[in-house]
Symmetry: C2
Amino acid sequence: MEKIEKHINDNRNNFIEELKKFLEIPSISTNPENKGDVKKCAEYVKDELKNIGLENVKVYETPGHPIVYGEWLKAGKDKPTVLVYGHYDVQPVDPIELWTDPPFQPTIKGENIYARGSADDKGQVFIHMKSIQSHMLINKSLPINIKFLIEGEEEIGSVNLDKFIDDNKELLKCDYVVVSDTAMFDHDVPSICYGLRGLAYMQVEVTGPNRDLHSGSFGGAVNNPINALAHIISKLKDDKGKILIDGFYDDVLNLTKKEREEYARLPFDEKKYMKGLETDELFGEEGYTTLERASGRPTLDCNGIWGGFQGDGAKTVLPSKAFAKISMRLVPNQEPEKIEKLFTEYVKKISPKSVKVEVKSLHGGKGAITPIDSPGVNAAVEALKKGFGKSPVFVREGGSIPVVNTFQTLLKSPTILLGFGLPDENAHSPDEHLNLNNFHRGILSIAHYFNELSKIKL
Amino acid sequence: MEKIEKHINDNRNNFIEELKKFLEIPSISTNPENKGDVKKCAEYVKDELKNIGLENVKVYETPGHPIVYGEWLKAGKDKPTVLVYGHYDVQPVDPIELWTDPPFQPTIKGENIYARGSADDKGQVFIHMKSIQSHMLINKSLPINIKFLIEGEEEIGSVNLDKFIDDNKELLKCDYVVVSDTAMFDHDVPSICYGLRGLAYMQVEVTGPNRDLHSGSFGGAVNNPINALAHIISKLKDDKGKILIDGFYDDVLNLTKKEREEYARLPFDEKKYMKGLETDELFGEEGYTTLERASGRPTLDCNGIWGGFQGDGAKTVLPSKAFAKISMRLVPNQEPEKIEKLFTEYVKKISPKSVKVEVKSLHGGKGAITPIDSPGVNAAVEALKKGFGKSPVFVREGGSIPVVNTFQTLLKSPTILLGFGLPDENAHSPDEHLNLNNFHRGILSIAHYFNELSKIKL
């Protein structure tokens, strides 16, 4: 690895110059007028994958934008196979007038390179490319088997990816999935994301009388669907943030002692966090820290509510219907289908007879976890130590990343998220940028990661 | 009165023919293109008031549509002065294609006359005109002092009436206000409305974090304004419909034994009522009947609620804000200002510290009551007995009628609502009609009412 490290260090600036070409292509997947650019970008990725030494490189057409695939499987059957996932498409640039420099003319200022896609996700995809290339140049081989899957529709919901994965399960079969499309916990804090929450997203529709009524003539006589809905919602969580749905916590995988220690180690300034949200008091399940509650524990939130009159002034309507969108973030081992069922049964149970209540499931997804003492994670720890010169932190993401769910469901492969972005790099905003130290340390880390993974006994 | 009765009976059909002319004028106050028609209708009313023998008849211009006034004050100072209020403007006719006959070509079918404004309110105004005229023709005088106030903006919120009343308090000074602009309780059930509920209409705005957040990344860490709002609403009323606001019931004028007996006498089919609303169970304050709850007891209803995502699908937003419009129907003796204060204090008290809560008062109005054993009401009982041949029922209206509130506040006069419409006469819908038996019995009743009122010792 010394030679590889030297090569990466010697080529630090070359890699940055090369990255610019990738960033110059305006591969905005949501804009029809950029369809040609997206295609051009797929070709660019294809050519790069060939250049760095991958084989069977192919652009797969989809009903939308193409998926690019390449592989190198000569490490031997006793070596792990790793699927690297990323995306070459980018967010739109509006409002363009808020950009200091043109979004597709990569500009280096201080430690950063500014361009749309620099952090999300071209820069991070490029980290993997340059790591592979460095191995190939020095050793003419890779220490592990690599499959490289780069899509062009991540910013529009990966609409054709699930089908592609489902259709190509054998092609994509792997021991680990590595995704570099997230951010580090903070500046100079190399991070391993080893868990994601799942989701059960419900809609509740409450019907009182069969039509909107005058609240003067009927107020007091019939139940009001908004009041009834509020009563229902108020019984989903208690005043201390505990979810009251029968059986909700039954399958929760509790945080281990080690995990809680890792949470406690995270450099988190709660006062600053509260100030940023302009809130006087945080709120959530008793007995857990804020970070634990926001990613390691399940929770329930109303995402939307509506009913009756929403305009200015005072319309005295007693509405017929009220609606709420209510989602639960699940932790690994909680099954969305089971939670949907428990939610529905509980809501029915607590609903008064004086209204009709309908419950629908709108969306669901499993959580994901790769145990922090598993070989794939241990290898990442070692790699980041070498790449960054310091031990990484362990984080769990509070949200869901649909593609990780797909990998888990279809490929049955654990996913490790090694993000090299930063939380304040404006991923979806004007002046998106990537810290070039992290770009460089990322290439080193991934090069080491492949090497560390090769030590795993399958 | 026998001669007057005979005159009214003899002229039954003439009165109907005369009414048609009034109904033919398309005095739609909300349509700018009918402005001339509204003016023409005011002139018609003015001419009629003169024709029937009123004095000082005058059309008062307003920034909107004119108010017509006339009086006859020669009954003597020992006789009561009654202000008759009504309106000559009508609702729009859309959707016009749903009318069986043209809305401004009055058409008699069976017992009914069909035309826009027949029930609301021209037919009822005409009842008073013909009663006065009959007295005048037979006796050359009226048994009481009469002031006649007919406005042209009732269907657009009586926007200029309050100022007119305030500016003309001396002109309009009276012992009683009589309004015929409501419906009888049911077919063949002559009704006296002696009470109205008041209103305190509030808006509650809950702010959680200072911006919309991703519910994955922040769910569990901060309080959600929709959940918090639901908790607040759920604490306003208990599961049995009792309002929990501290001090809310302190000033409630409880229903008297006699009032509750009158409520019990009302021909009310609860099963049919429930079927009409398609509800399996009615809901409201324990210990009171449905009709009592809907008009004789105070209540609290959410009139609107909104926050977060309301579109199709599953957007995982943890919103910054949530809003609710919440109104309380008050009974006489409850002061809206006091209730607004109690509401605000209570909501602040029950709000969690993890959100910011703002409470605004949007609208308020006092309830009104004329005791059912008061002379003005007793006179109405006798009059309706004679006009309809049966005893009337006593009802209280669950809603508020703003002009009654104005009369109460500015003129300090009790108001008696003698409605001759029916609940199913499509007051604001296509095929509005008025039952001609009720039109006739109304003229008889009002003629008797003036006579009965003259017996009151001031």
